[in-house]
Structures are given as C-alpha cells and as structure tokens.
C-alpha cells in the first residue's frame, strides 16, 4: 500500500489520473441525485431563505417587498389578538389530541397484539379513518355529525331524550369536535405500535409470569420500557402533524376559523393573512414562528428522551 502510494505521488500523471477517477466516481452519484438536488435548491432551500427575507418585509404580491425590520414580529407579539387566539387554539389542540390519540392507539394495539382472530380485518377497520383523515369528505361528514340536526344529537335525543346544542357552531365545544376527529384517526400510530409490540420477545413475559409478576407489572416493567423508542417516535411525528392541522378546520368553519375564532388554527390564520389579505410578509413571519415552535417542541422531546426512553444498545 505504502509502496504504491509513494509511486503515485512521484509521478504527476498518476496524481492527475487519480483526481480524474475521483470526479468520474462522483459523477454517477450526482447524476442520480440531480432531480432531488434541483428540487431541493428550487423548492426548499431557496424558498426557505426568501421566506426568511420576506418575513422582514411588507409584501402584497403586487409591489416589491418593502423592508420593515422586525415590525412583523413585533406586531405579532404585541398587537395582534388573533395571533394569540390562533396560538391558544393550536396549543390546546396539540396538548389534547396528541396524548389522547397515542393512548388510544397504544391501547388498541395492545389488545390486537394479544392475538385475535381476524387481526388483519380489525387492523384495517381501525386504520381506515386515518387513511381518509385528511380528506374533505370526512371533514364534511364531521360537520354534519356534530351539527344541530346531526348524528350525535339524534343519538342523544333517541337514547336520553336530551336536546343537544350544535356542537360545531358553539365556541365552547367546536374545538373539541376537531380533537375528537383527530383521535378517531389513531390508525397510523397504532400500526407503528403494533409493529413495535411484535419485536418484544415473548419469553420475557413468560419469565415474568413465572416470577409472579402481575399484568400491571408486566405492562410497566416490560412493555412500556421496551416500547419507549416507538412511543417517542410516534410522539414526535404526531406532535408535528398536529401543529400543521388545517383541512378539517378550514372546511368545518368555512375558512373563517369561527365561531369566535374558536377553531382558528395557526395554519388557518397564516393562510388568511397570506392569501385572503395578501399580507405575504406577515404570513412569512408567522411561518417562521411556526417553524421555530415546532423545532423547539421537537428539541424538547428529544431532550426529554434521556429521562424515559431506554435503548437496548445503550446498556452495552
């Protein structure tokens, strides 16, 4: 090896050829990567930088952007009650829907994991709502189900003789109907939990029950610790998703975020500012605050890992 290296270094022609080899080896890689690279620069990196710039400007799409410094951010935090309304709606939604959804997903996954006849049918039934979740059709359905003459009230009347309110047009309840919609779609975290449960060795449970461990102890000492990385993964993913929720709120409130801003999701407010009022600079600033918030939440979750997530390889 050393011999050939010194030989190569002594002859300039070889060095050049070697460099040429390096380029020739790099070329296929970059050719295969070219579509992605072009897309990355054109649709991600470029727009991200432009968006950061726009967030410091006034921009209505017609005239060139006017530099305003931090005015957009100042306005957001000091004199925009709707901004705070949307923050509160979104945080409430995230804090309620994510844990509930994960709890349901985990509970159902554990029941299915016990081994039930027709597992694939149940799996499909529980997963289907998630698959249809983002669709306008399901939002329309939800609007009816929780409407004044809707399915929920029909049922309440039929079963208890209660005359229910219109859940979606009442600001006290409208957000919770959307939380329920999100929880109803617990299918995709459930599938991931199921796959995680499969990987826990069965003999651990057998050994535990021989030692006299109760079901509860098996849950808290075996299942949950070994499933922690999967719980963590689902938590990160679902939190990011929840921050980005848009379509159901848009359809159900007719794009207004009403009644009384009770379903004014952050993304909906961003859309209104950008594409209803054409405050593109302000909307860009809103987008950057969203990015930083999601990043902070994700970082916090990653940081919390050390207290509750156990990775098998760590111990070795």
């Amino acid at each position: 090896m050393a011999h050939s290296a010194s030989l190569a270094a002594s002859t300039p022609g070889r060095v050049a050829r070697r460099r040429w080899d390096g380029v020739r080896n790099a070329l296929p890689g970059y050719l295969f990567l070219a579509p992605w690279l072009a897309g990355f620069v054109l649709f991600t990196l470029g727009p991200t930088l432009v968006s950061l710039y726009l967030s410091f400007t006034d921009f209505d799409l017609l005239r060139a952007p006017q530099w305003v410094g931090a005015a957009n951010y100042q306005r957001m935090f000091s004199s925009d009650p709707k901004f705070w309304a949307s923050v509160s709606v979104t945080l409430t939604y995230v804090v309620l829907s994510v844990p509930l959804k994960l709890a349901f997903a985990l509970a159902v996954a554990m029941i299915l994991d016990r081994g039930i006849a027709g597992l694939s049918i149940y799996r499909a039934i529980f997963y289907l709502p998630s698959l249809l979740g983002g669709s306008v059709a399901v939002a329309i359905l939800w609007k009816q189900v929780f409407g004044y003459e809707g399915l929920v009230n029909e049922f309440l009347w039929f079963a208890f003789g209660i005359n229910g309110p219109s859940w979606i047009s009442n600001p006290a309840t409208s957000l919770y109907t959307l939380v329920l919609l999100s929880v109803w779609q617990f299918g995709s975290p459930m599938i991931i939990f199921l796959a995680g449960l499969r990987q826990i060795p069965r003999d651990l449970y057998e050994a535990a029950s021989i030692d006299g461990a109760t079901r509860r102890q098996q849950l808290t000492r075996i299942t949950l610790p070994l499933l922690a990385p999967v719980i963590f993964f689902n938590l990160v993913l679902q939190t990011i998703e929840a921050f980005k929720a848009f379509t159901p709120a848009f359809i159900i409130s007719g794009g207004t975020g009403g009644p009384v801003d009770s379903t004014l999701f952050y993304t909906l407010y961003l859309y209104q500012q950008g594409f209803a009022y054409f405050r593109m600079g302000y909307a860009s600033a809103l987008a950057w605050v969203l990015l930083l918030t999601i990043a902070a939440f994700t970082a916090l979750t990653f940081f919390s890992q050390r207290f509750w997530v156990y990775y098998e390889d760590d111990q070795r």
Binding site: L42, I125, S135, A137
Partner: protein, 257 residues
Amino acid sequence: MLYPLLWMLSSSFKPEDEIFSDLSLWPKAVTLASYVEGWYGLGINFGRFFLNSLIVSGLAVVGNLAACSLAAFAFARLDFPLRKFWFAAMLGTLMLPYHVTLIPQYVLFQKLGWLNTFWPLVVPKFMAVDAFFIFLMVQFFRGIPRELDEAAVIDGCGPWRIYWSIMLPLSKPVLAAAAIFSFIWTWDDFFGPLLYLTDVANYTVPLALRGFVDATSRSSWGPLFAMSVLSLVPVFAAFLMFQRHIIEGIAASGLKR
C-alpha cells in the same frame, strides 16, 4: 369506528327527508336521486373533477417513484463527495413545515405563469420534494444484499444498469407502498389545489366538494354526501387492494429509523 362512514354511505342512498329522521343504517327506500343531483351540482359534471384529480394524482405517482428512487439509490449505494451532508439536508426537509416555503413557492409559480394550471402540483414531485419517500426507499435499498451490486460490477454493469435491472425489480414492495401513499395523499390533498387552482373547470375532487358546500344550502346534505362517498371510492379501493403494502409501509417507515 366505521359507523359515521357507513352512515354517510347509507344516507347517500336515502331520500333527502329520511336522512335526519331515520338513524338506521338500512335505507327504507334506496334512491340514486342524491347522486344524480350531486353529479351535476356545480354546473360542470363531477366526471371532470375526477379526471382532473386522476391526472394530477397519476403524474404525482410517476414523478415520486422516478425521482425519489433515483435519489434513494444514490444515497444508499453510490459513493460521492458530500454524500452525508446531502443526506442530512434531505432528512432536514422532512422536519420543515411546508408553510415556510409556501409563499416564495407561490411567488415563483406566479412568475412562471403557472397559477391555475396543474404544473405547481405536479412538477415538484418530479424533483423528489417528498423526502419521506426517499427515506423509505433508502431504508429498503439498504436491506438488499450488496453482493448483488458487486457481482454486477464484475459483470461490467454500470450504476444505471444496477439501479434499473437489479434494485428496482427487487424493490417492488417499497415502490408499491410509495405509489399507493403518493396516490392517496395527492388525491386527498386540499391545500395545494386550494392555492393554485382558481377556475372551476380545473378543480380537483376535494376542491369541488368544498365548492359544493358553499354552493348548496344547508338542507341538501344528500347530494353532498353522495359526492363525498364518490370522492372516497378511489382511496378506499386502493386501500382494499393494497392493504398489506400500506400497513407494511407504515410499519417500516416507523421502525427502521
């Protein structure tokens, strides 16, 4: 779990006045009136919207499969300078909420004169913007034995032959999962069409449904449900046919990280 969906299905076949007076899932009298009324409800028949959705979703599938598999092959199998750096950048885009790039992209498409066309919905897919699929494919490609590539190289195959004749044929499961998700997500996408399509004749199905909510009065749930049911049919069909791939795709994306 499925009750609301079944109820919507059964309501779409009920006469309008029976929808709210009858909780049972079995219609007393089956009628297609809601479907007929809904199909022509927006002045243009719904077939047009289905065609639009089919064009957009079909092209999105082709674009995603082609562009993402090329990038995934480069990341999983080829060696080139800055490979790790670009891979990290690609993973970073997974975390980036699309709202950040939204407005500059809109301005870009406006400058290109692409507003109210399908191009903004389709062209980015041919440039592999859906990093999720790249990630999924990289994970799968890594599981294919390297000896196959090495044998192929000895037999004189270049990277393209390895990609086309070895990797792709062995990757049918992950390609199927990516195709199905790509189709379903594009079919259901509401936000993209909402931004870029203004002419009713260009509407995709979700946009048409939303237009339908605004155009019809509160009382006509029948046609609205009928069209909602129709809009779910392709997704439902894809789900039934490829259930195994869908579920494996999800599980794989979640666990191999």
